[in-house]
Amino acid sequence: MPRLADKYRYWFLVLPALVIMIVFYIWPLLGIWQISLTEPKAGIENYTRMFDSSAVTTSFILTFRIAILTTIGCLILGYIVAYVISNFARRAKPLMIALVLLPFWVSVLIRSFSWIVLLGRSGIVNDSLIGAGLIDSPLRLMHNEFGVVLAMIHVMLPFAVLPLMANMRGISGAYVDAARGLGASEFTAFRKVYFPQTMPGVMSGALLVFVLSLGFYITPALLGGGRVLMISEYITYQIQEFLNWGLGSALSVALLVATAIVILIAARFVNLRSALLERGS
């Protein structure tokens, strides 16, 4: 029986997934691009309007600011968690990894509503503070950037912890021992020897969290209460409220391009292949 050449055989294996991607993802995406150039009439009018609109500019700046704050928050908290899991927790390790992964099994929607329960005007945090006599009137903990960033850090944390852990698992304890044996204090050994080796993990964690945050919708929509309009919510408004498909599509394209630029810039500093694909060891 004649055998198909290997490269054709492998194409057959990926064919179902490829067809689904093209029919349900690439094609509609091209449709969005088309709409942005044809609705309400042909031309680049949607794009000129987008660049002229101060509301759009404000939303983009807000989106980047929240994504940056979320990334910083996730990196700081995630680094500590990953460091402890990788270097200190021996027996508690499986439990701690499970706790990191647990949020993945709970819907983002439910997690975001939990934050509303916590941070609302008569939420648990405000009630407790008032009950303890620390404040007289409730603090505004949500429907502002603070609430959005807080909840987003919570949602995104595993995306920072996992690449960092994968990275730290590959760092032998002998390096820190060697540094201390050569006269470096514990802190110097961490700063000069351990930390630089975790940079690939830091960069891939940062990229993952940042890119996901740029297009995030549910958490900012719920915690922002319409006051913190990140770009994906802005797009929803344009399409659902104003039926302005043209501008909505142009904004989608702009978000896609902005994300692509971030990844391209990051690719100059991070080996994306190893950072995103090679999780194990």
Binding site: Y175, R180, L182, G183
Partner: protein
Amino acid sequence: MPDSILTIADATKRYGPVNALDRVNLEVEEGEFLTLLGPSGSGKTTLLSAIAGFAPLSEGRIDLRGRDITGEPPEHRDFGMVFQGYALFPTMTVRDNIAFPLRVRKRPTAEIKKRVEYCLGLVQMEEFADRMPTQMSGGQQQRIALARALSFEPQVLLLDEPLSALDKKLRADLQWELKSLHDKLGVTFIYVTHDQDEALSMSDRVVILKDGRIQQEGVPDTLYNHPRNSFVADFLGKSNFLDLPVSAREDDALTCSIGGTKFPVMAPGATATGDVLKVALRPERIRLGQPGQEMLDGTVRQVSYLGERCLVMVDHEDVGTLIVSQPTWKAGVTPRAGLPVSFGWDADACVVLEPGG
């Protein structure tokens, strides 16, 4: 008597119910090349870690020139350390790796530059200064690790199986280099290995450990030719072990017998006084001859040719099988399986072992 640089007293390290080190006492002399030798699990690496400060002792103390350093963290001990896996910092160039211990000591920049060049020269790696560690072979990395550990002129250099990851020929080359580096610098070396050849070829003194205890310590020649117990005799080289009945005793000169054959055994300083001696007999001390030429008769069972030597297994009706090692270039007989031969040894070839060991 030379001064001790390190004094280890009753060092004990417990991991749960296991004693990785069991009341180890050891004096390390200033400037010597001391090797800790033992099989895996013998406690040699634990002892080195305790000296380096990575594994705090459960009991006992370590003094450096009379100063108690038992509780000091590794960075205050001023020992250089070379690891089995090199542990060169992968984010730094070779030059920065070697400069690292000097920088953390805040030495002036000009001095650092000079020291780094000097150390690169010591290991003949000048042209590799700007490479990253990952761009070098194992042997080259180990040289850099050595230069780094020596750059700050440590009081003691600790080496944890530094050559075990290298291939045989490279290992032999680096053994010579390590030895000459030691002679040149006069720094005290404490070297951990499980390789007996390495231990014998480089060391001024060897300490043999097993189950967390020192079995015997001494210069290589003494350990090889006068092992105290069967573990040392077996671990350092090959040995035949015999139980010899004593038929007469006059000071150090004994007469023993195998079957009906009596022969003299010199046992200077032997403490064993029983009627049966446990002795070790090195394969290369046994002579093979034509039947009748030597004192005992046997049959060749098997021959293994090793190039410069060949190993011959000889069966004897009373002692069982003995291993004989003879140079291939001056064989009294050309052994082959089934050949009847005679064999014998000199009076000083049998080493009397401690009973029970």
